[in-house]
Each structure stands twice: as structure tokens, then as C-alpha cells.
Symmetry: C2
Subunit: 288 residues, 2 copies
């Protein structure tokens, strides 16, 4: 296992890992590193971390596990900063929403030590952010995807698997490109669809009237349009190729549906809606 | 006011009107008419209605208000069936999701008596359906839209307004076509977008993997894809013109967004996402 965990970014994601580990036995020493002194101090006073550090050399001393849980744009900067302090047994992982880009960063920044890096993506989140939003059970029963490549050390994958299992997560592994293709379809595309709808309606002359009469269906459909614009800009750009593919496929599906409507094809529309409705209902049952 | 209300369709919508009226004073006699003897009997035993009728002539005797709360395809059939029993003071209204089509039905079926018909659309609903799902407060604080045209009698509009106000609704009036344009944008389009996404994903070879990793954002975004396929087929066909216009506008918005992504226009994507996020957040606050 590991004795000292350094977490870069002690917000909802990193803080919840810390909280979960502190529930178990053999809790490692947990050191938080962050850009915001306020967040670090809050994480310390909430007991999420044992020590708050701004000096990376000091934070990394004897660290055998590093978790990067910052906005993904910071990942290469952090990898570069920690490289001088890595030993051959340090394992590094992250929690970003895209994985091909992160695997490239690791190769570029860590060189031969890139095989000690295991990309990770916990499929869990909450409305709120920051250390105060951290939850002991955020990862319980949630899917955690690790994305080793051909060069990743099996021992490193084992250690990161153990980390997430201690948080209650259900760990599976995928190729980085396969991960990005799956999440382009089930997460990144829906976010872009919701952003596009709300942005378009907001620009209309009768926007006030439209939003006045928007109700509960609209509320659920557009909840993800309230997501953090900077984070989603970075995700969209990081997963650009897969996301453009998904947009093309979806535009074709919309055109096909519009053609059914144009032709007043009642049977065709019914089949499409019924297939979607049945699938969605079955899926919701399987998840509950 | 009115002394005898005949409700066609005693499910969630009609049943909740009945329940709400029964909370107040001057409760009219409420007669339920329906195709399903089971539903009618349940509405009677739950106390939603005072009498259950299958004979329209008997049901309509001395009725001064008729509410049609059935699937909208039945509306013209019901209008034709009740016409012989209407007096010059009977007011007829409905609760369908589309209004231009219903106003045309009223004109076609009722002739000169069409001016006693007031189209209505309560913007309220719930996951469940049937008389057992009826709620006393379903309409409290909810928007109710009435769609009179140039021929509708002002007294009829006043009476239907009073009906919904007694249920706690916030009544406003719109032209039928304006109603359908607004709801094409904020309700019908989102439903079709969600149906199209789920149907498309369900048809893929890796559908099982995709749905395995779909999480809470997907859950909310696609909730409306679990809606009733027959009802939504009818809504889509009834509001075909406005909905096709909305699909065209949305496809253009998606193409513009894809162009920003294709060009890696970080600033353009940020502005689009930020406008959507701010609008959605402000809207949610205004509604809570």
C-alpha cells in the first residue's frame, strides 16, 4: 500500500478521497497542495488533510502516491513540478474527465517515469465544489475508470486500484481513447447540447417569455447547462476529435427525426420515441 | 361561477382539478366521464368525482362547465359527442399541450358554439399518471395558459380563468400560435432532443458499455426521454410546423458550436458556455 499521499487540489474530488481514506484503517499521511491558501486552510481545519503545503519539494518528501485533482489544465504544470522529487516507486494518478490528453502530458513531462503514471476518472460529482463539499461516501458504488497504456506498470495500476477501492469505488480499466469516446457520447455531448439550447434561447428577443414558461422537463434537461464554463471549455477542447464525431452523429440523428416529422410518419416517430422511452426506463431501473 | 363540472378523463390532470375544487367553498357537482371503467371507479372511490358516467347525455344534463383532460387525439371525438347537449351558457375547455390544433377542432366540431370553447394548458405534471396520482396542490403557483381567439366569448374566458384560479394556478392568455411556438422551444424540442439521443445510443454496438458509464448528468438530461411515446408522437405531429422550425434553428446552433470546436476557438466556446451557464443559474434561482 502507501504511507504518504500528496493530493494536488483539495476540493470536492480530492477532499472526498481524503475523507474516505480517513474512515478506514492504515490511513496514510495526507498532504494537501494547492494554489489557494484559503482552500488549503479550510481542508486542514475540516480534517481532510494532515498537512497543507505550498512548497512542492517538502510536500513530496517520501511521498509514495500522488493524486492530481485540479482542473485538468494544471496537470502538465504539476507533473513538471513534481518530477524532480519522484522515486522509482512513486505512483502518480489523476482525476480528470478526459484521458488521452493526460496520458500524453504524462509521457511528455515524465519521460521514462511516465510508466508510473495511471490516468484515472472517478464517475462521481456533486452540485457544490470546494473542500467544504467533500463527502465521505462520494465514491461508494461509483464507477472509477483507470486508463493505463502499454507502458504503464501493473504495480502502479494495482496501487491506484487499491486507493479507489478503499474509497468504495468500482474500478475498471479502459484504453484512454476508448474512455474518451465513451464519455464524448454519454457526458460531453449532452453537456454541449444543453449549453447550445440555453445559449440559443437566451439570445432570442422573446427570451423572457420563453424562460417564464419553461417548466420541470426543461429544468432537468438543462441542469448540466449550469456547469462550470471554464472546465467544460477545457474538456471540449481536450476531447475535440471524439466530440466532433459525436456531434456529427447526433446531427444526423436529428435530421432523420426531422424527416420523419416532415413526412408526418406517425409510426416512425412512435418507434423512435418508444425505443428511447423503454431504454431510458430500463436504464433508470438498472441504476437504482 | 358554475354548478356542474363534467370532466372527461379523470387521471392526474383532471383528477387534480377535481381535488383542488373540493378543497374550496361552492364546490360544483363534479361528474367524471371516461373510457376506462376502472379509472372512473377509482376516481369515484377516491372522492375525486361525485358521479361516474358513461352515458354522455346524462352526464351533460345541466352541465355549465366541461373540462376535456384526455389524450388530445380524443378531443375532437368528445367535442362531437357533447355538442347536442350544449346550451348557450355551457363553457368548454381543455388541458392539452398543443393549442392551435385544438382551436381548429373546436371550430370544426362546434361551429357557432366554438366561441364557448377556451383552449387551456396547465404547465404542471408529475411522473405518475391516473386518478391515484391526482394532487390537491398540483396547480398551486403553476402557470396556466388560456388561448382564446378573436371569436372566443370574454365571459367564457373569465369562467375558465376562475376555474384555474380556484386550483391555485397563475392564469395568462396567449394566441394559440404563440403558445405553440413557445412550447415548441421550451418543451417539445427538448423532449425530441432527449428521445433522439437515447434512441441513437441504444442502437449502437457498444450500447451496454455506454449506459454502464452514463451518470447523473445523463440521468437528468434524459429524464424526459422516458416520457410516454404515444402522447409525444401526438404532440410532435400536432405542433409539427413550429417544431420543425425549432429543429432547424437548433441544428444551426449546433453547427455553429461545432465550428467553434473545430477551430479550437477557446474564447468562443467559453462565451457560449458561460452565457448558457449564467442564464441557467439565474433562471433556476428565479424559479425557486
Amino acid at each position: 500500500m502507501f504511507n504518504k499521499l500528496v493530493i494536488f487540489g483539495v476540493g470536492l474530488i480530492g477532499g472526498s478521497v481524503a475523507l474516505a481514506l480517513k474512515q478506514g484503517t492504515h490511513t496514510p499521511l495526507i498532504v494537501g497542495v494547492g494554489r489557494s491558501a484559503g482552500n488549503l486552510q479550510e481542508a486542514l481545519s475540516l480534517g481532510l488533510i494532515d498537512r497543507a503545503e505550498t512548497d512542492i519539494a517538502h510536500a513530496m518528501q517520501d511521498a509514495d502516491m500522488v493524486l492530481i485533482a485540479t482542473p485538468v489544465a494544471q496537470t502538465p504544470v504539476i507533473l513538471r513540478a513534481i518530477k524532480p522529487y519522484l522515486t522509482s516507486s512513486t505512483v502518480i494518478t489523476d482525476a480528470g474527465s478526459t484521458k488521452s490528453d493526460v496520458m500524453v502530458y504524462a509521457q511528455a513531462e515524465l519521460g521514462v517515469m511516465a510508466h508510473q503514471f495511471v490516468g484515472g476518472h472517478p464517475i462521481a460529482g456533486a452540485e457544490k465544489s470546494g473542500p467544504g463539499a467533500a463527502l465521505t461516501d462520494l465514491y461508494v458504488g461509483k464507477n472509477i475508470i483507470l486508463t493505463p497504456n502499454d507502458h504503464t506498470l501493473p504495480e502502479a495500476v494495482q496501487k491506484v486500484t487499491a486507493l479507489w477501492q478503499r474509497c468504495g469505488g468500482l474500478v475498471s480499466t479502459m484504453r484512454p481513447e476508448a474512455h474518451d469516446a465513451v464519455f464524448a457520447a454519454v457526458s460531453h455531448l449532452p453537456h454541449l447540447l444543453a449549453f447550445a439550447l440555453v445559449d440559443d434561447l437566451a439570445r432570442r428577443d422573446n427570451a423572457e417569455q420563453l424562460f417564464k414558461f419553461a417548466a420541470s422537463g426543461f429544468r432537468d434537461f438543462t441542469r448540466i447547462a449550469g456547469s462550470h464554463p471554464e472546465m467544460w471549455r477545457d474538456i471540449a477542447l481536450a476531447n475535440k476529435t471524439a466530440l466532433l464525431d459525436e456531434l456529427t452523429v447526433y446531427q444526423r440523428a436529428l435530421s432523420d427525426m426531422a424527416a420523419l416529422l416532415e413526412a408526418s410518419d406517425a409510426q416512425g416517430l412512435y418507434q423512435l420515441f418508444a425505443n428511447a422511452s423503454q431504454t431510458r426506463t430500463d436504464w433508470a431501473k438498472s441504476k437504482s
